[in-house]
Amino acid sequence: MSILDIRQRTGYLFLAVTLAHVILISTQVTTQRGVPLLEELVFGAFAEVQRVATAVFGGIRNGYSEYVALQDVRADNERLRTELAQLRIRLQQEQEAASQTRTLRGLLDLRQRVALDTVAASVIGGGASPDFRTITIDIGTRAGLANDMAVVAPEGVVGRVIGASALAAKVQLLIDRNAAAGVVDERSRAQGIIVGMGTGELQLTYVSGTADVKTGDTVVTSGIDGLYPKGFVVGQVESVQRSAGEYSLVRVRPSVDFSSLENVLVVTTLPAKGDRPE
């Protein structure tokens, strides 16, 4: 039976569908409470499609590389890459520890700040719309994930969890237009807010006019936003524009290559409620 049979009622159907969309949009915009049921159901269902698609593509790729080209070497390589990724994460924590020691922070406080619980995840899908920068990872609430948990990679900060089903989670990338994080210039300790530009770049905002920010400076998370743990690399200052004594535009190049993300770590230690922003 052809779908064209509904043609005679198309006008009424179009009005009904449009009205349904408007009602759907209205309920979300006005209430803003929790994750909508539809979102969770559709996301949960399609995440499984993404998982299957990734498994099929991955199976074909692995079948060729493991059984034809490299066989066991491939598996060893994957294991070593995972170990290397974890070691690089630890290295970043150690570097931050050294930096904090130089700034005369207490040892007890330091140990509390770098003691992070993480869980590894694989990226099973990219963003479904080019207007939003999100990815889907292969673990969800069953693995202990919750909204606002930070997601990091060996190169630096990736983003935060904004929705999770039982077996998958949606991650908003730091380069998304709606993403932001509290950061500090590693060299001068100048503070600011990094925001996504939606184009793959970041912009450093709310920087004091008297602060010292230069091209090439490394920007790391400050931890004041209550979302991202302190000391993780965000990127490097690419250009600095000043006008009337203030910073008008500070562009930051992300340290993470968001187009080739395969494995990430989710920081399962949520910040204390008192430290979280409204």
């Binding site: 039976m1 052809s2 779908i3 064209l4 509904i6 043609r7 009622r9 198309t10 159907l13 179009f14 569908v17 449009t18 969309h21 408007v22 759907l24 949009i25 979300q28 915009v29 909508p36 539809l38 979102e39 559709v42 996301f43 399609f46 499609v49 993404q50 698609a53 990734t54 593509f57 899908g125 990219g126 963003g127 479904a128 719309s129 080019p130 207007d131 939003f132 999100t134 889907t136 904004i162 949606k170 908003q172 998304d176 237009r177 709606n178 184009t199 793959g200 968001f258 187009s259 080739s260 993300l261």
Partner: protein
């Protein structure tokens, strides 16, 4: 196009968009494969199928993105309906009309999508023209190639059958 074919086209576009999305999204030159699929369904099956396909695909895209669920669905619903309606009223089987359809569909989609976000005060789009232009070019190229491939497949099979020699 049968209903099953519509679902397959949408599912394939979504799977490709989410799997190859990182390769497709490069600065402002982003390609919306789902929109291409919706326009294809609308042109081949009419406004009803285009509207329903657009709604379904847009809602799934919304749920997989970080935006408001329904805005993308409404945008693609309108684009599917309009593209299907135009496809029934005018002959759009030649390359140039199809190119215009894909460009127009991309612009209309962007207008509804961005317009609603700006109207509701949820997002701002500082310089949307370059992004829309890049996406219009990308969608048009992908759409024209897709049309060409799909339409050449039955002919290719027939030609192959016709040229095959009978066995003795």
């Amino acid at each position: 196009m049968k209903a099953a074919g519509v679902f397959v086209a949408i599912a394939l576009a979504l799977a490709l968009q989410t799997t190859l999305g990182n390769a497709l999204v490069a600065g402002t030159a982003a390609v919306d494969l789902v929109l291409v699929a919706v326009v294809y369904v609308a042109l081949t099956s009419g406004p009803g199928a285009g509207m329903l396909a657009g709604s379904l695909a847009g809602l799934i895209q919304d749920s997989l993105s970080s935006g408001v669920i329904g805005i993308g669905g409404l945008a693609k619903c309108i684009v599917g309906f309009l593209a299907g309606g135009i496809g029934q009223q005018f002959i759009v089987t030649a390359a140039l009309p199809r190119l215009v359809m894909f460009i127009g569909a991309t612009v209309a989609h962007a207008a509804v999508f961005m317009g609603l976000y700006v109207l509701l005060g949820l997002r701002t789009f500082p310089s949307p023209w370059s992004a829309v232009l890049g996406q219009a070019v990308g969608n048009s190229v992908v759409g024209m190639v897709a049309f060409g491939i799909i339409e050449s497949l039955p002919g290719a099979i027939e030609r192959r059958r016709a040229t095959r020699r009978p066995r003795r």
